[in-house]
Structures are given as C-alpha cells and as structure tokens.
C-alpha cells in the first residue's frame, strides 16, 4: 500500500469485506465519493464511532456500545430464560423474529476438534456461572442443526445437567418450504416431530 492514494487504500480495505471483491469495492467507493454528503461523511462518522465504542457484552457476549448490552441491562427480560446462540448474527436473527423475551448467551462458535476450539475457547464456563447465579429456569439451545452445533448442544447439556430445564429448537419444514425440495434428513426430522392438527 506504499505510496497508494487514500482512495486506493479505501478500495483495498473495502475489497476485504465479505461479499465484496476489488471490482465491487471500486464501484462502492466511487458511489460513496459521488454521494459525499449523503453517504460518505455519515458513514465515516459512524465507522469512527463504532470503532471507538463497540465492545462485547461482559455478560452474554453480544455486541454493543457499553460493557453490559441493552438486552442484559433490561430488567423486563429477566424472566429466567436464556437462549444460547452460536454467534451474534444468530442473536440478531432471533431478535428480528421478536418472539423471545428472555436473555441470550453468545458462545462465539461451536466445539470443533478440527479448529482446536474447546469449551474454554467458547463462553461455556460463563454460561454455567450465569445459570447458577441468575435464577435461570430454562436454557434454550438455539444452535445450528449441524454436527458441530449439536455436539456443542450435548456438551452444554452435560455441563448444565440438573436443576434447569434444557430445550432445543425444533427441526423440520421451514415456513414456505416445499417438501419436494427438502433433503431427506429434514423430512425425517419433520416426520418424527409431527403433531396433531
């Protein structure tokens, strides 16, 4: 990047963002420059502010601008339920659905021997602490329906065994899904979890 202009540096950095390559980064930067007042300056200010204030919640691992995130700080959400998710993106997805009114715990990944991710690399010990100290009655394991996700769910269940209700998300036909396009695993799971109409 030596002797590169600030615009080249911006293009090079933008190209490192997910979903963008050098070509699309160039288009985005050009668009920003053309919309300087409307986009570029507010974006630069927002990025600077987020860079200065963004941090992980000490309690749950969510991303926020204070040491304890808004969800953990909200007394109305202290209903004795914790929803365990793999990543902050999953927490955001749950919040978009607007159905869960309790608190969250973000693990920061799943157990993976391949990537040397063990329980200590995740926030599992912190979860065990929270369950013991926050009057938790139910832990909802909202982990991905993958081998790693379910292995992690079973590991957490073993760690929290006794004293707390443990549940996991259902697996089956998605809303708007057509059976013809589903894989055999999903169809089997849905059939096993069938319910009275």
């Amino acid at each position: 990047m030596r002797n590169a202009s600030p615009i080249d540096i911006l293009i090079e950095l933008m190209a490192k963002l997910p979903g963008l390559g050098p070509r699309s980064a160039r288009r985005a930067v050009l668009h920003l420059i053309r919309k300087r007042a409307l986009l570029l300056i507010p974006l630069a200010d927002a990025i600077r502010e987020v860079a200065e204030t963004a941090r992980e919640c000490l309690n749950c691992g969510n991303v926020g601008t204070s040491e304890i995130c808004e969800i953990c700080d909200d007394e109305k959400r202290a209903i004795g339920e914790i929803c365990v998710v793999e990543d902050v993106a999953d927490l955001w997805a749950m919040e978009r659905a607007n159905v869960f009114k309790g608190r969250y715990h973000v693990l920061g990944g799943t157990l993976s021997a391949l990537d040397s991710v063990g329980p200590e690399e995740l926030r599992i010990p912190r979860l065990v602490d929270r369950v013991a100290t926050e009057n938790i009655t139910e832990v909802i394991l909202a982990l991905n329906a993958t081998i790693d996700g379910q292995t992690t769910a079973h590991y957490i269940a073993d760690q929290l065994h006794g004293g707390v209700r443990l549940t996991s998300l259902a697996q089956g036909v998605p809303i708007g899904g057509e059976l013809d396009y589903l894989d055999d695993g999903t169809i089997s799971a849905a059939l096993r979890a069938r319910k009275e109409v």
Binding site: L114, H154, Y155, D183
Partner: protein, 241 residues
C-alpha cells in the same frame, strides 16, 4: 487428473468466502482432500456434514494439486446422528479417528467398507458399541498395530487369556503373566468375540484399544494429540451404562 468415487465426509472447513475444503474417506482413493467451489452456499453447506455419503468427482491439473470436488449427496447421516448423544459422539469419534490415523491418498478398501457399515448402524444404540469396538480392532489391524489374541505370548496357552501385553499387543494367560500381571492390560472376553458383550466389558475393551492408539499409533504419527471426540464418546458410553 480426474476420478469418480463414493465416500463419506470426514470434515469440512471454510476456504475463502464461498468455498470449502473437504476431507473424505473414499473406497478406492482412501482419505482425500479437495476444494468444493460454492461449498459454503445454502444449497451445498447442509450436504457437507460429517458422515454424509457422497458421490465424488475429483479433478486437478496435476496429481499433487489439492484439486476440486464435485459432490452429489447420496444419503445424509445427520438425522441418525442427531437421534441421541451416543450416536452423535459415535459419529464424531469415527470421523475424528479416521482423520487422525489415515494417511492421505492411500486406499484402504476393506476398512472403508467396515466404516460405512458402522456408520449405517448409527442410531441403533444397542448394537453400536460392540460394532464400534470391532471397527477399532480393524482400524488397529489396518494401521499395522493389530492385536494377536489367539494364544498366550508367554506360554502358548489358549485358555484363561485375561491380559494383553502393552508391549507386544499379544494375549497373555493368567499363568503366563505371573508377577507381571499388574503391568498388563485387561483382556475382556468381548475382545476375543466371546460372551454376551455387556456394555461395561465393551467400555473396558475400548480402554485397552485406546492404550494402543495413544501409545503405539500416536507416537508413530509424530505424537499428534488424539481426537478429543474419542474421550467424549467413552464418557458418553460410560454414562449410558
């Protein structure tokens, strides 16, 4: 270079933004890695789960290259693996041990067939522990560390074989062990294919086979750490007894 084969997936990891590098165990080409373009997409990522049976087409310009795979799902084993913690732990230990033990690009057709049969039993918790023990014995045999349990290494006797020599992997009789008995590993009857194979005997037998993985196989592989999945499987098995 190009070939087609059937196999099951051992592991998958993200490669760049859209691709995945998978490690598969195939019948004719052994353990083999390759890139799957678009392997992280919503369409393909669910297929690339450990244990999934796949039709594979591998292509590379030179044989030394990692190459790329085209994958077609044949059957998923995820539902069987999700049926219970023993099945899930079992799948993890099988894929973990194969990744740990097998060299790349070396065919092990007999072991492949046994492994596929074992994975097809996933979810049948009453059959699985014994089938898994037999598979571990076959894996040790395939790796050149097979146990010889036909006669006593010291006396040649075929009766009262209750120990295994940790040094030679051969059976030792009660008399043959003599004062060395406390240094011997237990040889439960299930290891010789005798008796009703109760679960506690299977768990004991797995501790014996585990000794050979840790003290013979791992040092031969440069003292790589054993996959944690095996310890978790043993723990799960002991808690289901």
């Amino acid at each position: 270079m190009e070939w087609s084969d059937h196999g099951f997936l051992l592991s998958s990891r993200r490669h760049g933004e859209t691709s995945a590098i998978i490690d598969v165990f195939t019948q004719e080409h052994g353990r083999h890695a390759g890139v799957v373009r678009g392997g992280t997409s919503r369409k393909i990522a669910p297929i690339l789960q450990p244990g999934a049976q796949l039709a594979l087409n591998w292509r590379a310009r030179l044989e030394d290259h990692i190459g790329s795979f085209q994958v077609e799902p044949l059957r998923s084993r995820a539902v069987a693996a999700f049926s219970g913690r023993l099945a899930l732990a079992g799948l993890n230990t099988v894929t973990g041990l194969l990744s740990f033990c097998l060299p790349e690009r070396e065919p092990h057709a007999a072991l492949y067939i046994r492994s596929e049969q074992l994975l097809d039993l996933l979810g049948q918790d009453d059959l699985w522990p014994l089938a898994y023990l037999r598979w571990e014995l076959a894996l040790l045999e395939e790796l050149g560390f097979g146990l010889d349990l036909t006669e006593c290494a010291a006396t040649g006797a075929t009766q009262e074989l209750i120990y295994i020599s940790p040094k030679s992997g051969r059976a030792v009789s009660r008399r043959g062990a003599g004062e060395w008995a406390d240094r011997m590993l237990p040889l439960p009857p299930v290891l010789r294919g005798h008796g009703d194979a109760p679960d506690d005997e299977i768990a004991l037998a797995l501790r014996t086979t585990g000794y050979f993985f840790e003290n013979r196989v791992a040092p031969a592989l440069g003292n790589k750490p054993m996959p944690e999945a095996r310890a978790r499987f043993l723990d799960t098995l002991s808690r289901t007894l």
